[in-house]
Amino acid sequence: MTVLIKNAIIVNADKMNDQPQDILLEKGSIVQIAPSIKNDKATVIDAQGKLVMPGLIDIHVHLREPGREDKETIETGAKAAVHGGFTTIMCMPNTNPVIDNAMIVDSIFKEAKRVGLVNVIPIGAITKGQKDEELVDIFELQKAGCLAISDDGKSVVNSQLMRLAMDYAKMANILVIEHCEEPLLSAGGVMNEGKMSTQLGIKGQSGLAETVIVARDIELAKYLDTKVHMAHMSLRRSVELIRQAKKEGIQITAEACPHHFTLTDEDVSSFNTSTKVNPPLRTKDDVAAIKEGIKDGTIDCIVTDHAPHTQEDKEVDFEHAPFGMIGLETSVGLTITELVEPKVISWAQMVEKMSTAPAKIVGLEKKGVIQEGMDADITIIDPQKEWEVRREDFVSKSKNSPFIGRTLKGQVTTTICGGKVVYQA
């Protein structure tokens, strides 16, 4: 398949072109970028008035397969991803069974290939069965194609085990992603501990649960002189710790989710169980700090933490509902509406946070930039388009979004993955 994108305003992390270009995609690669390209056999996409970005990459997604295919499958998750403008997604290992050996990794790659829409790269567990007891066979997972390991859903609480994991992962050249939550401190809390949890009479989860693990892992990374990536940062204090660590040259990278820069714990007063996420929605002040962190580079990338749950599972009382909200199909709209439109970040920075930086963090060398020779993964966005988030428009199998009813600005019009048009509005 040959695709020719005409009149493209190309947005790369380092530069937003002011002159439209044509982009020719062939055999899965970007083969030519020039002011005017002619090609008779190519499928032509006119990008007049649109922004053309390197394919968006989400390194934090839950696809629920294997185990909870009633919530999401690799296929429905992939469809949701391309609907949301993503060309590469990395799925977390807290499935049933847990992704902790090469056989399961292979089966996910195989199913993703059959679906064929989007690059799906499984993230392996750090500990077998995510039980915080024994390390997985890390080289085996790396050779099977994992770019990262994580026990997401929980921390590696055992500090010695985490030290060994980070040390070994450095040798195996695989990224460690930490879900920062000390469970004894989160102590069964289901929303942010503070004024709102006091008013609502809901058990609070102290921010300490997050920050003590952030601080611990910064120390481990410094001591071992290695990398660690902090999942879904939600607090001002976490941003401060990471900012300071980066200043000292410690190899920390960090991500944040759209809901953590859009919603606050005040939104929980609706008792809408879609506002129950982990880490919980924090205060206005934390939201401001997350935005500052995204702006100044403390937070390297934006991820969704897409966490599908069935209506049956979510339609219970707040305390007993599972944590998580879906995010793949609202991430672009929320990022534009909450960050780009109010000029917190530029379009180029949006590309940095949603494509270039995540590619670099996990080591996807051929992705994250629109340039000749790179993979033909492209996301085209109509920056002016306003749209309402509607339950019936979600492609994801689950609909647990607190953003239903909200109007967002900026919509994905075309997603191209590996040179193939996989979504068109």
Binding site: E193, G194, K195, S197, T198, Q199, L200, G201, I202, K203, G204, F271, E312, E315, V316, D317, F318, E319, H320
Partner: protein, 309 residues
């Protein structure tokens, strides 16, 4: 007095001072009914009231049931818990099923905050919150205010000390909201580990010095200390709690001479209150129980009838 317009009673945040006043006034006229030989008035004849309790309760349930019966409503009791729901059935399903049998009002209690609110958003029947999680217990606060008004003649300007496990107390939260609306000044007192963050924002002072609270308060409201709090390590021991935060006759010597001792019950004798104080001359604990029926009659009447007697 103006017309009653509220459809549900979810919390005291949702009532104005005038509406609270109206409940207390209405309760006054109903209190006499319970002293008659024939303890019944026909005002809610033909109405159906269901008590749907997802958390065990004896006192509150009995109080509501008597209130409903003395108003001649038909009542039905459902004691459910998460395990008695069929697999896949939600609380909402169950409530909707009950409502489909043309029920007029549902009184509900649940261990999770927000359940009555969610039910009220999805059902036509009136919802009365009989306690949700640590969030709200509006009828308890109303009957407490009724008792204070009855005994001291006013609420406005009084100093009320609420003592105990504030963190887990829906009674404390509803009283803070209600007493503030009625012009009282609330101070909470208890171990710092059982004091929720930012409680001041709800309209209360925090004072960890029980002696000072005893000396300055017109009303002392004690809360039940659940034994599990020690197991969860919120406090070093029940023994230390009783010593530092419990009230006995000795400590009460420094109290105002007409101080009221209140407790939502059941009392942990020897822990938050010594037996002599619980049964002593300042105690109005049994008045609270008596008034509870009248206040709940008033609530049911107003929600289902809407007119003054």
């Amino acid at each position: 007095m103006s017309e009653w317009t509220k459809h549900d009673l979810l919390d005291l945040q949702g009532l104005s001072a005038a509406e609270i006043e109206m409940v207390l006034e209405t309760a006054k006229s109903f209190r006499e009914v319970s002293t008659r030989d024939v303890k019944k008035v026909p005002v809610l004849r033909g109405k159906t009231i269901v008590m749907l309790f997802f958390e065990p309760s004896t006192r509150t349930r009995v109080s509501f049931e008597l209130a409903a019966k003395r108003l001649s409503a038909d009542t039905l009791n459902i004691s459910a818990n998460s395990s008695s729901l069929s697999k896949g059935e939600t609380v909402l399903d169950m409530a909707q099923n009950i409502e489909a049998m043309n029920v007029d009002l549902i009184i509900t209690r649940h261990s999770s905050a927000g359940v009555p609110k969610v039910l009220s958003e999805n059902l036509q029947a009136s919802i009365v919150n009989a306690g949700d999680g640590c969030r709200a217990h509006p009828t308890q606060a109303l009957l407490d205010m009724f008792t204070i008004q009855e005994k001291l003649g006013r609420i406005k300007g009084l100093k009320v000390g609420i003592i105990g496990d504030i963190l887990h107390s829906r009674v404390a939260r509803s009283n803070i909201i209600g007493l503030n609306k009625m012009g009282a000044e609330v101070t909470v007192c208890g171990p710092s580990t059982l004091m929720p963050i930012g409680i001041e924002a709800m309209g209360t002072k925090v004072n960890y010095d029980l002696e000072e609270v005893i000396q300055t308060s017109d009303v002392l409201m004690l809360l039940r200390l659940q034994k599990e709090r020690q197991k969860d390590k919120f406090i070093p021991s029940i023994r230390e709690y009783a010593k530092i935060f419990g009230i006995n006759a000795e400590k009460l010597k420094h109290a105002k001479k007409d101080v009221l001792i209140m407790h939502p019950g059941p009392v942990n004798r020897g822990v938050e209150l010594s037996a002599d104080v619980a049964d002593g001359k300042y105690s109005v604990i049994l008045n609270q129980v008596t008034n509870g029926v009248a206040v709940r009659m008033a609530i049911l009447y107003l929600l289902l009838g809407g007119k003054q007697q």
